[in-house]
Amino acid sequence: MFNISKLLDEIKSSPYREIIVAAPHTGKIAFAGVEIGARVHGPQGRWKETPGTKLCTLERECNPKPVCAPENGEICQVHRELDGHFVEAGTPLVVLRHMLTRDEVQRIILQKTLYLFPAPERAKYYFTPEADKKIRASDARSVTVHNGMELFIMSRMKREVPLNYTGPDGVIYEVYFKYNKNLDAGSPLVGICPQDHLHIIQNLVMRVQTEWTET
């Protein structure tokens, strides 16, 4: 059986993740008053409607776009030498040290417990219209899958082919892909939980929620 205590201890021993905030597009950069060591917060609110701490402004075509902290954390590095310069997309701007949240820890643990159906190719993935309709109406956990079921549409190089699910029967517990975003081969598409294991998964989730303290 899966040892959750051991995994939690492992995560607790190094509960940080380094996040490189890069320029989302080209433009002229102007850093806000952020300093190394300052604490910043990520988007907040029920729907993440309040943006995170502003790190810099990227101006392109006379449109200033604030670049905000994607997560809570502490600033470790600021590329001040770029201040006032035109930068290309993907240029690193700021580095944050982020402490893992309950949800992130839960996601890590679920990835070790659920059956993960991997992407066979680097491609964009969509649910079939039937599954998509159900997910939109309620949520992914309302969709029951079985071996051989046509569940995805794989789109690469503008050509689409249906993709069948292979694996144990169960419900879709987690969805790991986003529409219109490419996913690498081997990355999980969905996490499947057999019906009779649902209570075990729920216990795991409960344990993470109670044992993990966020700072």
């Binding site: 597009h25 080209t26 066979p120 491609a123």
Partner: protein
């Protein structure tokens, strides 16, 4: 970069190459020949592409910019401003037929030149439905079917039923209906319907595809003309819009199941070497005359292609107009001569006329000699419905010859990971012969010398459509 010094109108221009891969390399090459500096863009997925190394090596001071997407107009504009570009060349695909982009380039505070037809012409002819209406108003024959995008399932079914009945009345034994995404192009989002009972499921599939890929679920429904020849007329005009000329015809009839072109031949028909069940010379004259008539009527002012279907009985129908340079322009250029001089470069002509230079020659100055065949080498599995076959290229070689022009963005330094974000096109091979027989034989020599090795993501040997092309060399011109 070439040492050529631009003169007159071309002086003081700098071009943003707003595209990738093979076409970006060809635009950069044409800029070099005209002596015009350029700036190029690339995305993270394309960092290893040949066009990136070519731009790095030839573009001069800071001429290469990484952008988040080729589809982001803001991104391209900001790079153009930063690099000091005065014109934008869209290549094909992406923004090439987007009239809003063309309008924005020419109307913004810091105005630039859009190297392509003016935005009003793209708006008028880039829309398949408008084109059809315009053609019908000029007495140009078009494929029977809907003349506007259909959004309603019941209406779509009614139109399909009418087309099926029309074909039955015409005595067609296996009537077929074509369902295609109105906003699509390049053979994407097209499916055939054999059985009227299957129409609804195909319609829904195409509608969903169109919504995902083009953000517009409009669908066109047309008669599928079988056993046809797919012909194109290459038109070139300048900003005076006075005297459009044609650079001959091409035959693009060999396509794979996804209606993607695989082999193109110029000229469109070869009546001196092959037999036809109709008067091929008259058909060629007719489609050229119709295309020029439309070009004159709309005041066409750059490079464009009129696409035609020619039935087995020799009836031509206009399909659409591509208001851009096409992938296969090289075959037309290969056999063309201006005042007896070969080496025509249609992309250079497009840049020159796009920047405002007059054409400088008339139709009677253009001549044609020989036959040219283009093979598209594509990473795909011909045994599996031509699905893209991506992975890593470890070896890619062929035997050079004076009659061969190889256009590829696969870099010299291998291995090369084929990005999945774009078309799986690897290379274009243009073969020239003094007649069809010689071109065919040389084509077979080229294909036999071609070596492509590598692995797909599952570790299987990499495939390409070369096997398909080889199998078909005996019937390259199946008209």
């Amino acid at each position: 970069m070439s040492d050529a010094q631009p003169d007159g109108i071309l002086r003081n221009h700098k071009i943003l190459v707003a595209n990738r891969g093979e076409i970006a390399m060809r635009i950069m090459g044409a800029c070099g020949r005209l002596g015009i500096p350029f700036a190029a863009v690339y995305t993270a997925e394309d960092a290893a592409s040949g066009h990136v190394s070519a731009a790095r090596g030839e573009g001069g001071a800071k001429s290469l910019f990484r952008v988040s997407s080729y589809h982001d107009a803001n991104e391209l504009m900001s790079v153009a401003d930063e690099a000091g570009c005065t014109a934008v060349h869209p290549g094909y695909g992406f923004f090439a037929e987007d009239f809003r982009f063309a309008r924005r380039v020419t109307k913004r505070d810091r105005k630039m030149i859009f190297i392509g037809p003016s935005w009003k012409i793209i708006r008028e002819l880039g829309d398949k439905i408008n084109t059809k209406r315009l053609a019908r108003s000029l007495g140009v024959p078009t494929v029977p079917g809907s003349d506007r995008p259909i959004y309603d399932e019941m209406e779509a079914e009614r139109i399909a039923k009418t087309i099926f009945e029309f074909q039955e009345q015409q005595g067609i034994s296996h009537p077929l209906v074509l369902v295609k995404a109105s906003a699509g192009g390049g053979g994407m989002g097209i499916e055939e319907v054999y059985d009227p009972d299957q129409f609804r499921s195909v319609y829904r599939r195409i509608r969903n595809y169109a919504l995902r890929q083009f953000k517009d679920e409009g669908v066109l429904i047309e008669q599928r003309v079988m056993n046809f020849n797919h012909l194109e007329v290459q038109i070139v005009s300048d900003r005076t819009r006075m005297n459009p000329v044609h650079f001959g015809t091409r035959n693009c009839s060999i396509q794979s199941t996804g209606l993607q072109k695989r082999i193109e031949v110029a000229p469109g028909f070869v009546p001196e070497a092959l037999e036809y069940s109709f008067d091929a010379r008259r058909v060629l004259d007719d489609i050229v005359a119709y295309s020029l008539k439309m070009a004159r009527t709309v005041g066409y002012d750059n490079v464009g292609t009129w696409e035609w279907i020619v039935t087995r009985k020799g009836n031509p129908y206009l399909m659409e107009v591509n208001t851009r340079i096409q992938v296969e322009n090289g075959v037309s250029a290969r056999i063309a001569q201006i005042r007896g001089q070969g080496g025509v470069d249609l992309i250079a002509e497009q840049i020159r006329t796009g920047l405002g230079e007059p054409l400088g020659y008339r139709q009677e100055d253009i001549g044609f000699e020989g036959v040219s065949i283009e093979y598209r080498l594509i990473a795909e599995d011909p045994e599996n419905n031509f699905t893209p076959w991506v992975g890593r290229i470890e070896g890619f070689s062929w035997k050079d010859a004076p009659w061969l022009t190889m256009l590829t963005h696969v870099p010299d330094r291998l291995p090369y990971e084929i990005p999945t974000e774009f078309d799986p096109n690897l290379a274009l091979a243009i073969i020239y012969g003094k007649d069809i027989q010689e071109a065919r034989e040389r084509g077979a020599v080229f294909l036999n010398s071609l070596r492509l090795t590598g692995r797909d993501s599952a570790g299987e040997p990499l495939k390409s459509n070369v096997a398909f092309l080889k199998d078909n060399t005996g019937r390259i011109l199946c008209f």
